[in-house]
């Protein structure tokens, strides 16, 4: 089964500090992973995906096959980054899609 784990339920940092939200995966096959974000009073939405190699709102995520990780990073956190972040495996028709447990990021002024 495709599974991801997020070891931290809550991460609190000060504005301007670096941020790393951890995600580890444990399944075979091509690990094309996603990060979703849910800001306060907004719907859960895609933040970025591994296959796109993109940087969104200053966030990047590098796939480390040796460590089986897909950590989300930002060098300088902003208060508006405060949100709930979920790591997720790729979607395949009919699969039970199991998200990571989520990490709440709080950026303090």
């Amino acid at each position: 089964a495709q599974r991801v784990t997020q070891p931290e339920k809550l991460l609190s940092v000060f504005k301007g500090a670096p941020v790393e939200l951890k995600c580890n995966y444990s399944y075979s096959g091509s690990p094309e992973l996603f990060w979703y974000v849910q800001y306060s009073r907004q719907r859960l939405q895609l933040l970025l995906r591994h296959i796109s190699r993109e940087s969104i709102k200053g966030f990047t995520a590098d796939l480390n096959k040796g460590e089986t990780s897909f950590h989300l990073k930002k060098p300088f956190a902003q208060e508006e980054d405060s949100a709930m972040y979920y790591c997720a495996p790729p979607n395949n028709a009919g699969n039970m899609l199991t998200f990571g447990g989520g990490t709440r990021l709080m950026v303090k002024p």
Binding site: K9, R43, N91, N92, A93, G94, M96, F99
Partner: protein, 113 residues
């Protein structure tokens, strides 16, 4: 473009009462549809998914059921609500293309009193 609608936004129901949450998708056909529950401190839990009309899958025994009476309609139901059913329920769809993301509705906040 595709859109997803979920209602109601909030709901307060007494224990033992029935439940019906509705989700519809526009702008596409034959999407995969999902119901998730987001409980405080417990992340996202997949409740049901459907790959077609009348096809419902779930591996989580619970007090809830789901139905897909039409291609783009997904309903979450309960005959008798429990206090433990309180939570934030999210509907989502997926177009079936590899590496496409899930698209979520705005969610329903259910409080069982």
């Amino acid at each position: 473009s595709q859109t997803i609608h979920q209602w109601p936004a909030t709901l307060v129901q007494p224990v033992g009462s029935p439940l019906s949450l509705e989700c519809t998708v526009e702008g596409t056909s034959n999407p995969n549809l999902y119901w998730y529950r987001q409980a405080a401190g417990r992340g996202l839990q997949l409740l049901f998914y459907s790959v077609g009309i009348g096809q419902i899958s779930s591996e989580v025994p619970q007090n809830l059921s789901a139905s897909r009476p039409q291609d783009r309609q997904f309903i979450l139901s309960s005959k008798k609500l429990l206090l433990s059913d309180s939570g934030f329920y999210l509907c989502a769809f997926f177009l079936g293309e590899f590496n496409s993301p899930l698209h979520f509705g705005n969610g329903t906040r259910l409080t069982v009193t």
